[in-house]
Symmetry: C2
Subunit: 299 residues, 2 copies
């Protein structure tokens, strides 16, 4: 079953302790799409400038990804410039040029409106609400956000949360939103705001999943090679929602498996800059690492 994703598409400048790249393909919708396409067809809604290299769309189009919802607008493509220290959990934004993304007003092609699996990537929660107004009756809405919206658009974010089934957040975002250090307390508060499932991503420390009555602790994968954490969260979301759309099984135990597939995709994403690793990943590698996750957690 196909997935609709609405999010950013950009050209990133990234510096980590392991290297530096300029104008590399990036954006939440990109990392999500490359990741989710291993599991399910993906339809993308986003915007790029007329400077955006055509080859990027051509390459993405060769995957399981429908690009009809990508608007090409006169102007420059969204650009993010950021760096990471050795503590790769924390991105430092050096510059953000919204460019054509500034006036982004997501319009869903009519054939996207009956999408059953929706991913609202991190963006202005008002835009996330506009997307939800255009879809008919989705089976599952998964959302992401960031500290900027918690600090600057909290009311809109709370409205979005009411309409989201599963919310993905970083640990620091969950703590900030709920003003508590305890992730358990934070998750319990967020569950009261609307979502039936909260997934807290802890970077190299894995992820936690909470529902009203259960919780699940997904391990970190101890990586030999980490080069660039950019897009790890969106790759996580792609593996997570991709697996759910593929299996069409929203039971708690299957959502746990989806968290592990999300972790698998994120663990590959960080091995190279931008989406390079996912562009060159084989499906057999996805299965292989999933089995490794099984192996490292059994006791």
């Amino acid at each position: 079953m196909s997935i609709l994703v609405v999010g950013s598409i950009g050209l990133d400048n990234i510096e980590t302790p392991f290297g530096k790249v300029e104008n590399i393909l990036g954006g939440s919708a990109i990392h999500f799409s490359y990741s989710a396409s291993f599991f399910s067809p993906v339809k993308v809604v986003g915007v790029v400038g007329n400077d955006f290299p055509k080859k990027h769309l051509e390459e993405l189009g060769k995957k399981n990804v429908d690009l009809k919802g990508i608007e090409i607008k006169k102007g420059k493509t969204f650009q993010w410039t950021g760096s990471y220290d050795y503590d790769l959990n924390q991105a430092h934004t050096l510059d953000t040029q919204l460019n054509v993304f500034e006036d982004f007003n997501p319009k869903l092609p009519s054939e996207y409106r009956n999408s059953n699996f929706i991913f609202l990537a991190n963006m202005d929660p008002e835009l996330q609400l506009k997307v939800l107004e255009q879809v008919e009756s989705p089976n599952l809405v998964v959302g992401d956000t960031m500290n900027f919206w918690i600090e600057n658009k909290k009311d809109a974010l709370l409205k979005t949360l009411k309409k989201v089934d599963i919310i993905l957040m970083n640990d620091s975002e969950a703590r900030e939103l709920c003003k508590t250090y305890s992730l358990l307390e934070a998750a319990q508060s967020i569950l009261k705001l609307g979502p039936s499932t909260v997934i807290i991503k802890k970077g190299e420390h894995g992820a936690l999943m909470f529902t009203d009555s259960t919780h699940f602790a997904a391990p970190a994968y101890p990586l030999e090679e980490v080069n660039d954490p950019t897009g790890a969260g969106d790759s996580f979301a792609g593996g997570f929602l991709g697996y759910l759309a593929q299996t069409k099984d929203l039971s708690e135990i299957n959502i746990r498996k989806a968290v592990v597939f999300g972790s698998v995709m994120a663990s590959y994403n960080v091995e190279n800059f931008g989406p390079r690793r996912l562009q060159n990943l084989a499906l057999s590698e996805v299965d292989k690492r999933y089995k490794e996750f099984v192996g490292i957690t059994r006791f």
Copy 2:
């Protein structure tokens, strides 16, 4: 099968965001003993001053703990004063009064010398070596250390590591010893120094276990109540080695189970100040939380 532990016994002053206590029973040998005694008999070697309240020894003696190896020396008992911020992973030492612990020279009672399971708690690695010179042919030697010895007694520490089967370290200590951010790289380096198993404790993020050919990621337990992390590492060691001594099974899969029992004991330890929670813990609670660990990790 009984365990020999050699380590500190002290009176701590502790301040955390959740409260403040003075002259509370503490020290690595104390937290370890309370924890391990749920699984196996424990023999303690340590030193206290003649100011040390007798009730502490009386209470400990009611557990499965032999105190013959505790020397009472003229002078004041070891005292640690420390505090924690909301990031409870990081202790801030405000003051250390070694007192009678300064000249501690561990002497094993003759009936301790044939001990099969040894825990060398965090202390000067030269003292750890002195302990090993006095034991006959132990089945298993588990060691702990800290950044102070890495920085100030590295040669002695490397000698100790050669004689230790399983080394326990915090993530920051492993990174410091091996001068790498990657815990996987750090573990691989430490395995070359002697131990056949390396366990890296990550506080609220769980623990990782590495051998030459396998690794295991133990989850964190999402605690509702955290009051004082002091002694969490030693409680972990107590549950870990206690379970191994009880089962006498040093297979890789059983060492994984031991890591989880260590995590169980650490998760209880932090619920109250000093060793209070372990002093009032029921064996049934240990089993209950172990089952919860099983539940939160299955997928």
